[in-house]
């Protein structure tokens, strides 16, 4: 018996399989770019909103705190942006050039939002409700960062009024370097800034809830729960 091999069929199969792979690469790339575009759109919208609020804040120095506060609620949008960014980072990898560019832009927006909120807090004498969190994704640099992330997510879930600004300590962004320098943050991570106080190392939920700077918000929530 002659064992015939149809080489043409092997080649044709290779071409079809290659075409299927090519289509999959195209689809993946198409949706990947759509996701990037969506993040850029959200960033652009937040950027305009923050700029608008900053301008409004400058124009209405004497306006009521109620008016200002009602126009500066970007927390949810920033939070949604953060989760989309994390998802993209997981898809494309932390070292992807586009991911790094998006993270830089996002960090910049966070800093702007933080500064604006700080000004409003000072002007309106409202209790500070912001936490700045520095983490690192580098292997072995911050073994407790994963746990700290869980704590802060839970804290944000329990107390929606608390704003958490997360920053990759190693991100190459001059505004971020300035933030690190003016707050005298050492490379001991995780690091948290709450009000004027800086905390190094892992901080549990209990510790954060007892932090004097967050006391007002925690007590406000307890009071509301009791009333119900």
């Amino acid at each position: 018996m002659k064992n015939e091999i149809d080489w043409k069929k092997y080649l044709l199969t290779l071409l079809i399989t290659g075409a299927i792979f090519g289509t999959a690469i195209y689809i993946s790339d198409y949706f990947g770019n759509k996701k990037i575009a969506e993040i850029q759109n959200i960033q652009s919208k937040i950027s305009i909103d923050i700029l608008s609020s900053e301008t409004q804040f400058s124009l209405l120095e004497e306006s009521s705190c109620k008016d200002i506060a009602s126009t500066t609620a970007f927390s949810d949008e920033l939070s949604s942006l953060e989760s989309k960014l994390n998802s993209t980072e997981q898809d494309r990898g932390a070292n992807d050039a586009q991911v790094l560019a998006l993270k830089q832009n996002y960090s910049l927006l966070e800093i702007k939002d933080y500064v604006l909120m700080k000004n409003i807090t000072e002007k309106c004498k409202t209790p500070p409700a912001s936490i700045i969190y520095f983490y690192s994704n580098k292997d072995g640099e911050c073994p407790d960062c994963q746990k700290e992330g869980y704590v802060l997510s839970q804290l944000r879930s329990d107390y929606p009024a608390v704003r958490v600004y997360s920053f990759d300590y190693d991100l190459d962004l001059s505004a971020l370097k300035t933030l690190i320098t003016i707050n005298k943050i050492k490379g001991q991570l995780p690091a948290l800034i709450i009000g004027d106080q800086t905390y190094y190392g892992f901080q549990g939920l209990d510790t954060l809830e007892k932090a004097p700077e967050l006391k007002a918000i925690v007590q406000m929530k307890v009071a509301t729960s009791t009333k119900r």
Binding site: M1, N3, E4, I5, K9, Y10, L12, T13, L14, I16, T17, I20, F21, A24, I25, I27, S28, F31, G32, K35, E38, K84, S87, D91, Q146, K147, Y150, V151, S153, Q154, S157, G204, L205
Partner: protein
Amino acid sequence: MYILLFIGLYFEVFVLMTYLEHRDTIHEESNNTSRQPSRYPTVSIIVPCWNEATTIERTVQSLLDLDYPQDKLEILLIDDGSTDNTWEVMQGFTQTASIKIFHKENGGKHTALNFGLTKSHSELVGCLDADSYVDSQALKNIVLGFESDPQAMAVTPSVKIWQAKGMIEMIQNIEYIWAIFLRRILGFMGAIYVTPGPFSIFRREVFEKIGGYRKAHQTEDMELAMRMQSNGMKIGNAHTAVVHTSAPHTLKKLYVQRLRWTHGFMKNAIDYRFMFFKKEYGNLGIFILPLASFSILATLYAMGLFLVGLTQGIMTQIVKIQTVGFHLPHFSFAIDWFSVNTELIAIISLLAFFGTILTLLLSSKVARGKVDFGLDTIYFLALYSFIAPLWLAKALYNVIFSVTTTWR
């Protein structure tokens, strides 16, 4: 991982292309039930029995019910030293002219088959496991298989599960249906490497030229097929020749059976490694044998990755619970397309999965005559990938550390 997926997808495309090439032949064979052989050659069916007292009667009765001239059919029942009352049950067939019964000391299935070969004198010789039952048209369709391909030195049947009940049998039901389709495709490629114990039929010259059955790591049907292929003997397939076989109904029994099969394949593949990547052995040498071996390692690798991912996921959840306590996740019916995984690996895996579904539907069409997607298919898709690595891993371990695999 991309290489594994590419090879898996390549195989699926190759199978589907071969199906399209021979689609008309397959469906003509399925639909034309009035075909008759131009000649009825003499046939001997050897039934090796070891402690088969409960199933032998039904097996023999199915042979007696074959739509085949009784004067052309010889049934040889070989009691391979049973310790139950198999021999007594066999005595009940002494009055039937076409049945001959023999008793020998236990020596294993291959010795019973070789004993039967010495007692047979027909043009075609076949074997039927004593826990299997033939469809009445099976032998006629096998003979038609020899007629349609005069070069075929053996013709294999379609093996189906006998009355699949319960999850384990239903999973095997789909596996066997898929195997029916695949064996038909391999038949067109000249790349069949197993002549199943239930009702594979051989021309007598096969045994005269290359000898009888060997122990072959408890998988004599696989070794004989590889020996035939290595000697340039073609093996065909008649998917309309249906044989029903009893399947293991517990996971443990299935594990033992599949461990023997997989270990047997690995050991025989090692024994016949000279065929790998040699074009003189056709599609079997350059594609199917290397692919079958590769698929075992690929499945184990994929399962390893899955287990690592699963362990990491569980560890992450444990750390999270230890850190902030247990909180029910927030469920939302709103689907954010952003959370859909659009990574390349996810898209290719999805395409390969659709390819698998398509292959299973075609298998159902060929084996059952209709496209069927029932509970058995769902069980198969959901569970087979998780249970198969159990015997694949142990078989590999047994091969590496020279551990003997037992029959039962």
